[in-house]
């Protein structure tokens, strides 16, 4: 029974971390219809941003918000110089090639500037473990889960109850209709891209104390994010959250009770099964609503 409860805890905490990586990916796809293969590179940029601020003497918790701003700034520069010029209204195929090239360029630049070796990112939670009713919780993982829940809840609220949030949803549903309604579509697109990459960066900052900062740290995480996003439904924020929890819990249970070796295939098996019965993913919109 103890192992069962511990596995649920492991799965929920893991899922909360996946959600943060996946939400940025799905926001960019949902609003801009860009399959962002550079998501993992922005994830790594987040980790390096917080590391550089730490090296300047800032505490980890203070450095995180500034690092989010730094990644958002880089994201905005990429948006106005590359994404806006080359990707909008060009379809998903072009975006795959260009964002993949962008990812390679960011990783190469990171290696040149920071070197290839993994670098430690220190968090005040360190390697502390919390024992609650006999169950183990990693303090950094709890921090990640709590931040993830707060950020995602705030984001969901912002989308639903603010004008800008509603404008993002309007552009994601029908950009031309949004333009005719007087919405500043280029601004909303920029905002969506910046929010998406900032979420990726934040995920990198939060996970860096666990996995260290290294140039290709985003690769494996972005693969999981893709399974989460496809499972939840491309472009659906609530779907990404649900997908993250499903993958997190499934991975934890499968690793603990069935087979460690087969766990990496599990996410894709779930994706195939879900797509067989719900082609739009668990909470995706039907194609008729897309343009």
């Amino acid at each position: 029974m103890d192992l069962f409860v511990q596995t649920i805890i492991n799965g929920l905490i893991l899922g909360a971390g996946y959600a943060l990586v996946a939400v940025g990916l799905t926001v960019i796809f949902g609003t801009l219809h860009i399959v962002n293969f550079a998501h993992g590179a922005f994830f790594a940029l987040g980790a390096y941003a917080v590391l550089m601020l730490q090296n300047l003497g800032l505490n980890y918790l203070v450095a995180v918000p500034f690092a989010v701003l730094a990644v958002a700034t880089v994201g905005y520069l990429v948006e106005i110089t590359i994404v806006r010029r080359a990707l909008y209204d060009r379809g998903e195929y072009g975006s795959i090639i260009i964002t993949f090239a962008l990812a390679q360029a960011i990783v190469a630049a990171t290696i040149l500037i920071m070197g290839p070796d993994p670098l430690p990112v220190r968090s005040p939670f360190g390697q502390t473990a919390i024992s609650l009713f006999g169950f183990f919780l990693s303090a950094q993982r709890v921090f990640i889960a709590a931040t993830s829940v707060v950020v995602l809840a705030a984001f969901a609220w912002w989308l639903k109850y603010t004008v800008r949030g509603q404008q993002i949803l309007a552009v994601s549903q029908n950009p031309k209709g949004a333009l005719y309604s007087g919405i500043n579509v280029p601004l909303i697109r920029s905002l969506s891209f910046v929010l998406g990459v900032a979420a990726a960066g934040l995920a990198g900052m939060l996970l860096a104390p666990l996995i260290s900062a290294f140039p290709t740290m985003g690769d494996a995480n972005v693969i999981v994010a893709f399974t989460v996003v496809i499972l939840g439904g491309l472009g659906s924020i609530s779907g990404a959250m649900l997908g993250a929890l499903v993958i997190g819990l499934s991975n934890a249970f499968f690793e603990t009770y069935v087979s460690v070796s087969w766990t990496s295939a599990l996410g894709w098996v779930l994706v195939i099964l879900v797509l067989l019965f719900w082609p739009q993913g668990l909470m995706g919109r039907t194609q008729i609503n897309r343009h």
Partner: protein, 377 residues
């Protein structure tokens, strides 16, 4: 035009009179296929510094009749497909020898391309399967995983005396060889292997795996992973879950690039390798000192084997009097002994070198401390 003819005549006449073959001015190119990007790029960086240092020494010594050695670096990016492409590119660009081998699965793929075509020296990859193929021009500088694991496992079983072991490793050729060796060695003992968890390289979190292993209540955890960032992550997560009474990590894979980001989580972990800086003497001490001076960094096993690979290839080509008669070069490599910082290396029929010594390490601070030394032969 008249000047060109005159210049050519002067060069030709000089070469003739001095008795230097026309090819004397052409450099001998070695293709160095290592990870320059990707998760093991740190190994590539360590290898490159050492290979460059070896070339500087060789070129200054006037070896190969004064022909300069030129290294052509290609990036294998930590994947077999990129490794194969990089080896092909180096061969097309005229490499007379290929130095490639940091990861066993990648080296296996690369060796299919070099087989019977070009001299291939694998500096670091350990899996026995690489040299079991019977490729006549393939040589290995590092010990095989069986050689290293046999000594290490004997140490774990006889010196540390765990009653139960839980094992976790990345699902690779290297891991398979180590696990097979461990299972074989445990057959004749009372030590039980209570859990085996082979994970994929795409695994991003190890909490559930460690929970599973802890549930089996083993006395020893044995981790087999060669990727520095992941090694640090695994040990951090092991520490967060309270650790295990005895802890060991696969041989030849624990470098400072894993220990530093682990931030103390690897303290006390037992491992082993063919290299240790502590207590080095003679040629090894000179190598370490020169490496530190030139690169402002600490050398490690990867630096050592890459340095040795360049020197052994250059020495064999020089002794054989050819850079492209691979039968002759291979025969020279097998038929002679080679002086390196570790001592004297000899290659067996399968092209495997055996390091004279194997060291048991224990992680201490940002490095490793010597716990025991074994003679390999």
């Amino acid at each position: 035009m008249r000047f060109k003819i005159l210049a050519t005549s002067v060069v030709a006449a000089s070469a003739l009179f001095c008795g230097i073959p026309a090819q004397a001015q052409e450099p001998v190119k070695f293709g160095v296929v290592i990870p320059l990007t990707g998760p093991t790029a740190g190994y590539g960086k360590d290898c490159r510094m050492a290979a460059d240092m070896a070339v500087e020494e060789m070129n200054a010594s006037g070896i190969l009749g004064g022909r300069k050695i030129e290294l052509m670096y290609e990036d294998e990016k930590g994947t077999p497909q990129d490794g194969v492409a990089a080896v092909q590119k180096a061969m097309q660009n005229g490499a007379k020898a290929i130095i490639a081998g940091m990861n066993s699965s990648i080296t296996l793929a690369e060796s299919a391309i070099t087989k019977n075509k070009v001299l291939h020296v694998n500096p670091g990859a350990q899996a026995d399967a690489i040299t079991n193929q019977g490729s006549p021009y393939l040589f290995q500088i590092n010990n095989t995983s069986t050689t290293n694991s046999t000594i290490f496992h004997k140490y774990l079983i006889e010196q540390m005396k765990p009653k139960t072991i839980a094992y976790m490793g990345e699902n690779t050729e290297f891991n398979k060889a180590v696990l097979d060796n461990l299972k074989k060695m445990l057959e004749s003992t009372d030590v039980k292997l209570v859990e085996v968890a082979n994970f994929e390289g795409t695994t991003t979190d190890f909490t559930s795996i460690i929970t599973r292993l802890k549930a089996a209540n083993p006395e020893m955890i044995y981790v087999v992973d060669a990727y520095p960032a992941r090694t640090a992550q695994i040990w951090k997560q092991i520490r967060q879950q309270g650790g295990f009474p005895m802890e060991a990590h696969a041989t030849g894979t624990v470098q400072a690039s894993a220990i530093r980001p682990a931030e103390g989580a690897m303290e006390g972990v037992v491992t082993g390798d063919i290299f240790i800086a502590e207590g080095a003497q003679g040629d090894m001490a000179a190598f370490i000192e020169k490496f530190r001076e030139r690169n402002k960094e600490e050398p490690n096993k990867v630096s050592l084997v890459c340095y040795e690979a360049v020197k052994v290839i250059a020495g064999a080509m020089d002794k054989a009097g050819t850079d492209s008669d691979y039968d002759k070069i291979a025969e020279t490599l097998r038929g002679n002994s080679w002086t390196t910082p570790r001592g004297t290396l000899t290659f067996d029929e399968k092209g495997r070198a055996k390091a004279p010594n194997f060291y048991i390490h224990v992680v201490k601070g940002d490095g490793v401390a010597l716990r025991d030394t074994f003679n390999v032969n």
